[in-house]
Symmetry: C2
Subunit: 121 residues, 2 copies
DNA sequence: CAAACCCTGACACAAGCGTGGTAAGGTTTG
DNA sequence: CAAACCTTACCACGCTTGTGTCAGGGTTTG
């Protein structure tokens, strides 16, 4: 059996066993399992756990935020949609003079983003 | 007074006035104010509100997720730290053979990321 | 000036997150 | 085989999010 069991991993990382299970089901740190479904933490998982702790403390973010960042990375259509929304400015860019023009401009951008996203959502 | 007031904006966008205030304080859609601090929604804000609604529905994400995405964009050190953590793999890359090597590799990467982040957090 | 609007601040409440505990049952090991 | 571990599945609890409503007070407008 190679790799630390959940209690050993808890001791060396500072997380509680309960939280290690939570992080597993949250998809942030999911160690491989033994034949009897025991979680086996290798050096990779231990490192990830320690740096996760640092990340959360120093950046004042939540576990769910990291989960969302992971989603952003693994779902390109999601990323495209979110970035597209953030790019939408309240004020019209140069060269787009009146309101009608501007609305058309925004709607077209939106359509381009939806097309890029591939409408699977 | 140019721009819709909060109740008018609520009617045309489908959000409740309460939620428009919430979105304002959350930093997602913050319209300019009149001299008496009335929120004034222009076409830009209205568009942003409608597309936000679409974004949340279609992508099954939360308001706070969009807020976090905004933080990710406006705080490069945060973005660097999160992306760095997500890049940390459980398995060592090619050419890094034993565990000691691998741990050193990861730690150096981590330090590089922290340096890049500029340790203001 | 009075009605109809806007503001902020507060109370309320459901649902979810992060975390601890515990129970019932399988596995490993001395 | 018994002790010490592991598993999942629950109950619980405080805090945050998202949302409604209401009160007290300023503003705009007919």
């Amino acid at each position: 059996m190679d790799g630390l069991t959940i209690n050993q991993a808890a001791e060396t990382t500072g997380w509680s066993p309960r939280m290690l299970r939570y992080l597993d089901t949250s998809g942030l740190v999911s160690p491989p399992r033994s034949s009897a479904s025991y979680r086996l933490y290798g050096p990779g998982e231990l490192q990830r756990l320690r740096t996760l702790r640092e990340l959360l403390e120093k950046q004042e973010i939540e576990i769910s935020d990291v989960g969302f960042a992971q989603r952003l990375r693994s779902e390109p259509h999601l990323r495209g949609a979110v970035e597209g929304w953030l790019d939408e400015l309240a004020e019209p860019p140069e060269g787009v003079s009146d309101q009608a023009d501007w609305l058309r401009f925004e709607q077209q951008k939106h359509e381009r983003l939806l097309a890029l996203a591939g409408d699977r959502g």
